[in-house]
């Protein structure tokens, strides 16, 4: 009798307390519960992990605790930042061990329950088979996970911690120690007039930027894809190849080139406008025009990706839907708004969400084009085209106000993550994922 079949028959009577005893034993020392259940090999493996974790981990965790509470004690020798990161590595290792520990208790409880139900626990052969099956998932996942923990999770935790410290130009290691300041940075940003004003200004432009940049690239991409997808267009392949070019040119290059093209005095764009007796438009110096310019640059850089995507989707829509619509006498507009658009939006929804969060944090276009300029009087270290991320960049690298930068990062992250999670959960691919297969 295998455990899998047991799960089906829930009405089997459970008598005895072996499951509780096993769980408690495993909670006292990893592996004891398994030995109590008669799974000696598994129990011993758990005990070895346990001893190993205690011996090698204890000093590590003591250090983490010391590090995170004091942030260094010997001036000149202890570097608060290094201590924080080393401590965080300890914290993550501790969380992993904690995870194994909890799994061990659950495992002891489950097998104890099997015994309470009168079954035999799986022997070593069965266990190895289970471990191998589960192990495959783990083996395929772990390389990626290890990388993600190191390059995204630990930095994320680190920034979160910095948001609650006084790390800035005047408290900068190794000369000085960093200290915990609680919610002070958040209070400061919120209560101090200049900061609050800057935050409101930058935030509202960030929202406008996110929506307009996403909608414009998607709209143009879809429109071009529709034009190219008409059956009687000749040379659509050549057009597509040319129009995909901006995607292939490294953004750093094209954005810097655009800075030159938009130059108010010498730029070819103003030359062109002058030809029609317009302008000169102060593309880089006027806050409103600068915003428009940066949106246009982003449109140039961003539409080919959307075009490629929409082309693929359009080609995958079965033609008989349109034929049926034609028989029913649908107009071209009806066909577009009732068939094409819903189908395209339906399948691109998750990608549009990602695109929005990407644009929300689209540092490259904003910073490389105009460094967030032009300056605006009364704003704290932010200019007319600065979005939150480029403002944070300036606070970090130019002004060395690391603590405020971290606090702002955290606020941005909570907004973006909240928006994305809410929307991801509503998309079809998340809700119906397993039904599709």
């Amino acid at each position: 009798m295998t455990p899998q079949t047991n799960a089906v028959s829930k009405n089997i009577t459970v008598t005895g307390t072996k499951r509780y005893i096993a769980a408690i034993l495993s909670a006292i020392c990893m592996g004891f519960g398994q030995i109590f259940n008669g799974q000696f090999v598994k129990g011993i493996v758990y005990i070895i992990i346990y001893i190993f974790a205690i011996i090698s981990g204890l000093d590590f965790w003591k250090y983490s605790y010391w590090g995170l509470t004091t942030m260094g004690e010997t001036p000149g020798k202890d570097h608060s930042l290094v201590i924080m990161i080393e401590s965080l590595v300890g914290v993550v290792l501790f969380l992993i061990v904690l995870g194994i520990y909890i799994l061990n208790i659950i495992d002891a409880y489950k097998n104890g329950k099997l015994r309470d139900q009168g079954y035999r626990v799986p022997g070593i052969k069965q266990t190895i088979k289970n471990v191998v099956d589960q192990g495959y998932a783990l083996a395929y996942l772990s390389p990626g996970m290890i990388f993600l923990i190191l390059v995204t999770l630990i930095p994320l935790l680190f920034t979160t911690l910095i948001a609650f410290t006084n790390y800035d130009l005047y408290h900068s290691p190794p000369a000085k120690f960093i200290e915990w300041v609680g919610f002070n940075n958040f209070k400061m940003i919120w209560s101090f007039g200049g900061w609050k004003r800057t935050l409101t200004y930058v935030f509202s432009w960030t929202v406008v930027w996110t929506v307009l940049s996403t909608v414009s690239t998607f709209g143009l991409g879809l429109f071009v894809a529709l034009i190219l997808n008409q059956k009687d267009i000749k040379g659509s392949k050549i057009f597509r190849t040319i129009l995909i070019l901006p995607w292939a040119v490294p953004a750093l290059v094209s954005i810097l080139i655009f800075t030159g093209l938009f130059n108010t005095n010498f730029g070819p764009i103003n030359d062109l406008l002058a030809f029609f007796h317009l302008g000169p438009v102060r593309w880089l110096e006027d806050p409103t025009w600068a915003k428009i310019a940066v949106l246009l640059v982003n449109l140039w850089v961003g539409f080919p990706f959307q075009m490629a995507l929409c082309t693929g989707i359009l080609q995958s829509i079965p033609q008989d839907i349109y034929e049926a619509a034609m028989v029913d006498g649908a107009s071209p507009f009806q066909k577009f708004f009732k068939i094409t658009l819903p189908l395209v939006l339906y399948s691109t929804a998750p990608l549009i969400i990602m695109q929005m969060s990407y644009n929300f944090n689209n540092f490259n276009v904003i910073y490389l084009f105009n460094q967030g300029k032009p300056p605006i009087i009364g704003l704290r270290d932010a200019g007319g085209t600065d979005i939150l991320i480029s403002w944070v960049f300036k606070l970090t690298l130019d002004k060395l106000k690391y603590n405020y930068a971290a606090a702002l990062s955290l606020i941005i992250f909570i907004i973006v993550a909240g928006f994305s999670i809410y929307n991801f959960r509503r998309t079809r691919s998340f809700q119906e994922e397993d039904m599709l297969q």
């Binding site: 395929y140 930095p155 129009l243 995507l309 399948s347 690298l397 930068a405």
Partner: protein, 281 residues
């Protein structure tokens, strides 16, 4: 019926006009860049799209000058790009395979958590990465940069790849399992060959990372000889050499050429692979 015909002509005329305008808008900055790179002189603003006296001096300068090692930057970038692509594809395909084919606790939320965590918008992260790389002695090394590039780009690419894997029927693997093939064999002999289009896409996505990033490279690489093209070229316009715009455009053009060729030649994979991966169409 005549009405239908005029409508068709109107539609086609509009379409071609629109496409031609788009081509002009797309091509202009690129042609302008090409033109500038053949101009004599250094200034961006005195240069014209069709130079009066076309010259190759900027290209010659890039290759022969003794002030900065352009050819080293180029080789560095190609090296970092290839290694990032290799490592990235391995990491993404294994992660995507696990999410696509195994059912384990927290799978659905794990995927979402992965995507959300990478949206964390912080330059403080770079400080953390700096300290971490310093701890293992990989600061100012290409290996360190490769590890960071490959690691930070797992979520989005693994997600697209998973979407593609999901469209590959499971029956093939089940048949192979019954025939006694191991999971490893199935992965290498069945999944990977079937997923060629998306692997091509993911390879390119990783390969172009070093050509687009300049913040990470700027902070993690400190010695001049280890620079990649982006920071090298940026230093050309921004730093000690003054505004060498025309030389910059020449270098930028040389940098863009390999990528453009790769993009053009793999275009069909982009449309089929990307669409299938991102939308499960």
């Amino acid at each position: 019926m005549i009405n239908q015909k005029t409508l068709k002509y109107l539609r086609l005329t509009f379409s071609y006009l629109f496409l031609l305008v788009m081509v002009a808008i797309v091509a202009y900055p690129i042609l302008w860049m090409i033109g500038a790179s053949f101009n004599s002189g250094d200034s961006l603003y005195s240069s014209t799209m069709f130079p009066k006296k076309p010259t190759l001096e900027h290209y010659r300068e890039l290759v022969t000058n003794s002030d900065y090692p352009f050819h080293l930057w180029y080789l560095n970038t190609l090296k970092v790009a290839s290694l990032t692509a290799l490592l990235g594809v391995i990491l993404c395909s294994t992660t995507a395979y696990a999410y696509s084919r195994f059912r384990f606790a927290g799978r659905k939320y794990g995927m979402m958590a992965m995507l959300v965590i990478q949206m964390f918008p912080s330059f403080m992260n770079i400080v953390a990465l700096y300290v971490l790389l310093n701890m293992v002695g990989l600061l100012d090394s290409h290996m360190g940069l490769v590890l960071v590039y490959a690691g930070t780009n797992i979520p989005f690419n693994a997600w697209i790849m998973k979407g593609y894997f999901d469209t590959i029927p499971k029956s093939l693997e089940e048949a192979a399992l019954i025939d006694g093939a191991s999971r490893m064999t199935i992965f290498w002999k069945i999944m990977i060959p079937l997923a060629k289009p998306i692997i091509a896409v993911i390879t390119i996505f990783h390969f172009v990372i070093p050509f687009g990033d300049f913040i990470l490279a700027r902070i993690l690489l400190t010695s001049y000889k280890k620079y990649t093209l982006t920071i090298g070229l940026f230093s050309l316009v921004n730093n000690q050499f003054g505004k060498n715009w025309t030389t910059f455009t020449a270098g930028a053009l040389l940098m863009a050429i390999p990528i453009v060729i790769v993009y053009m030649s793999l275009q069909k994979y982009f449309i089929s692979g990307l669409t299938r991966g991102a939308t499960k169409g």
